[in-house]
C-alpha cells in the first residue's frame, strides 16, 4: 500500500518536472470541488468520510480525465496487478452456481448496508452474463459466452481471476471496481465468479 503511494507520488513528481502530465481541464474549480467535498459530507452507517480521500490511482485518473499518459498507466497497472492475491491452494476455478449467486447480489458498502453481511459482486448491474438473466446492465461489456470464446485454459483462468480481483491491473482507469483489492470479495468468491465465466457447464458457455 505504502509502496504504491510512494510510486504514485514519484510518478506525479516526475510528471510535473517534465511538464508532460496533462493538467486537469479546470484546476481552479477542481480545487474548489475538493474543498467542498471535504467540507460537505458527514459519516453515515459504514460510510465514513475517509472514503472521500483519493488513493494514488484515483488521483491520477481524476486529474487526467481517466486518460493518463501511457508511461504512467503502464507502471501503475503493473503496480495494481502485483496486488492480486491468488488462492493459497492454487485452485482458480470454483463453483459456477455459487458464482451466479454472487453475480446477482448488488449489496454492500452503502450506508444502508449491514457491514457484517457478505458483499455481492454487482456483476449483473453492469454486464450481461448468463442468458437466463435478462435484467442486466450495459455499463460493462457482455460476458455471455465468455469462456466459449476464450477457452478454459490456465492462462485465461488467471487473467479472469486477476481482472475481477483488480481490474485496474489491466486498464488503469477502468470503470470496474477492484473487488478483491478493496476486500469486497474473497479469493474463494472470485474463484466462483471465474467458474461462472469459464466452466463449460456454466449457462454462460452453453
Amino acid at each position: 500500500m505504502n509502496t504504491r503511494k510512494i510510486i504514485a507520488l514519484t510518478i506525479v513528481a516526475a510528471g510535473s518536472t517534465v511538464a508532460s502530465l496533462p493538467a486537469a481541464a479546470d484546476a481552479e474549480h477542481r480545487a474548489k470541488a475538493l474543498e467542498i467535498i471535504k467540507r460537505d459530507f458527514q459519516p453515515r452507517g459504514q460510510a465514513g468520510v475517509d472514503r472521500l480521500a483519493e488513493d494514488g490511482l484515483q488521483a491520477i485518473c481524476n486529474r487526467t480525465g481517466n486518460n493518463p499518459p501511457e508511461y504512467i498507466a503502464k507502471r501503475m497497472e503493473a503496480d495494481q496487478l502485483a496486488t492480486v492475491k491468488l488462492p493459497a491452494d492454487g485452485k482458480l476455478l470454483g463453483d459456477w452456481k455459487e458464482g451466479e449467486k454472487i453475480a446477482q447480489s448488488g449489496r454492500g458498502f452503502t450506508w444502508t448496508d449491514n457491514p457484517g453481511l457478505p458483499v455481492g459482486g454487482n456483476c449483473y448491474n453492469c454486464h450481461q452474463i448468463s442468458p437466463k438473466e435478462l435484467s442486466f446492465g450495459t455499463i460493462g461489456p457482455s460476458l455471455f459466452q465468455y469462456g466459449k470464446l476464450r477457452g478454459n485454459t490456465p492462462d485465461i483462468q488467471k487473467y479472469t481471476y486477476s481482472k475481477i480481483w483488480n481490474a485496474k491491473g489491466f486498464n488503469l482507469c477502468s470503470e470496474m471496481p477492484r473487488f478483491g483489492h478493496v476486500g469486497a470479495l474473497s479469493e474463494q468468491q472470485v474463484g466462483h465468479l471465474v467458474a461462472l465465466l469459464l466452466d463449460p457447464a456454466s449457462p454462460v458457455n452453453k
Binding site: I37, R39, R44, G137, S142, K168, P177
Partner: protein
C-alpha cells in the same frame, strides 16, 4: 389522503397489472421483457425499455390525479401561514429569486445566486434559508430528518413547500441564470464534483451518468452532461414514489445517488448538492419542466 393514495395505487395496478413499482428485483426481469427479448441477446442499448414505456402510459393517465397535489396543497398552506418563532409567513418574506412571495417560475429559475445569503442555492435550500432567517426555525431541526420516510405520518414541511413551489413552474422553461459569475462558478465546480472518483468502488457520478445509452440492470441511466439526459434527471422531481408512498425531492435524489456511489452522506442543503444541481439543471436549460411527478 391515505384513501386517495390507495386509490391511485389501485388504478395503477388495474391499468397495467404486469407493472411492479418496486425497484427491479435482482433475480427477475419484468415479465413483459422476458417475453420479448431473444434468449441470447447481446446488450441492445437502443432497445426500448418496456417497463419504462408502460410506466409512462400510466403516468399520463395519472396526470389529473397525481398524489403530489396533496403535498402541494399542504405546502400552499405552509407557505401562506404565519409560522415559526418570528410568526412570519414565507409568502410575505421569502424571495425565491422572482420577488418576495412570488412562487411562479421560482423552481425553474433555480439554482441561482442570492445576494442576501451570498450563496448559490437550489429551490429547496433557499426555502430552508427563508425558514431559518425569516421565520426563525432552527436549521438543525429541519436538517435532522429532511426527507419523507416510509411510515412517516406525512412529508416534512420542507418537502410540502418544495412541492408547492415546484408546481408553480409546471410547463415552464428551465432557466438557470448561468451567465451570472457566481452561478457559472457553481456550475463549473459541480462539473468537477460529477467527475470525482473516490470510495471503495472508485465511482464518480459519471460512472453511471456520464455517457449515453447505459443501464444498471433494466434501469436506464440519463447522461446528465447532455441537455437530453439532464432533463431526464430533473423531470419528475419532486416526485411521489409509489414504492413506500413517499414524496421525495431532488435533494433526496442526490442524497441517494451518493449512497449508491458508496460515499458518505452529503450534508443537507450544502454547497456540494447545490453545485451538483446547478450543473445538472443548468444543462437542462431551455427545456420544459413538467411539474411534480410520479416515480416508481
Amino acid at each position: 389522503m391515505r384513501i386517495i393514495i390507495a386509490f391511485a395505487a389501485a388504478i395503477a395496478f388495474g391499468v397495467s397489472p404486469q407493472l411492479t413499482f418496486a425497484q427491479p428485483s435482482p433475480a427477475k426481469a419484468p415479465a413483459k421483457v422476458q417475453k420479448k427479448a431473444p434468449a441470447a441477446a447481446t446488450p441492445a442499448v437502443e432497445e426500448p425499455d418496456e417497463a419504462t414505456k408502460e410506466f409512462e402510459k400510466f403516468r399520463a393517465q395519472m396526470e389529473d390525479s397525481n398524489p403530489a397535489e396533496l403535498f402541494e396543497m399542504k405546502g400552499e398552506e405552509l407557505w401562506k401561514q404565519k409560522r415559526g418563532p418570528k410568526n412570519v409567513a414565507l409568502a410575505e418574506s421569502c424571495d425565491l429569486g422572482q420577488g418576495v412571495g412570488v412562487v411562479k417560475g421560482a423552481y425553474v429559475g433555480t439554482p441561482r445566486y442570492f445576494a442576501d445569503a451570498d450563496a448559490v442555492m437550489d429551490a429547496e435550500r433557499r426555502i430552508v434559508w427563508c425558514m431559518v432567517e425569516k421565520q426563525g426555525f432552527k436549521f438543525d431541526d429541519i436538517a435532522k430528518n429532511p426527507f419523507h420516510r416510509e411510515n412517516d405520518p406525512g412529508a416534512p414541511d420542507i418537502t410540502n413547500l418544495v412541492t408547492y413551489v415546484a408546481a408553480h413552474s409546471k410547463d415552464m422553461k428551465i432557466a438557470v441564470p448561468l451567465d451570472h459569475p457566481r452561478v457559472h462558478d457553481a456550475y463549473e465546480t459541480g462539473k468537477e464534483i460529477v467527475n470525482y472518483r473516490a470510495g471503495p468502488y472508485d465511482f464518480s457520478c459519471n460512472t453511471c451518468h456520464g455517457s449515453d445509452g447505459k443501464r444498471i440492470r433494466m434501469q436506464n441511466l440519463p447522461n446528465i452532461s447532455t441537455g437530453k439526459g439532464a432533463i431526464k434527471g430533473v423531470q419528475g422531481w419532486p416526485g411521489y414514489r409509489m414504492t413506500g408512498g413517499v414524496m421525495l425531492t431532488h435533494q433526496w435524489r442526490m442524497n441517494d445517488c451518493f449512497r449508491q456511489q458508496r460515499f458518505p452522506s452529503p450534508k443537507y442543503a450544502s454547497d456540494v448538492v447545490s453545485d451538483l444541481l446547478t450543473y445538472m439543471i443548468g444543462n437542462a436549460n431551455g427545456q420544459i419542466y413538467r411539474g411534480p411527478g410520479i416515480k416508481r
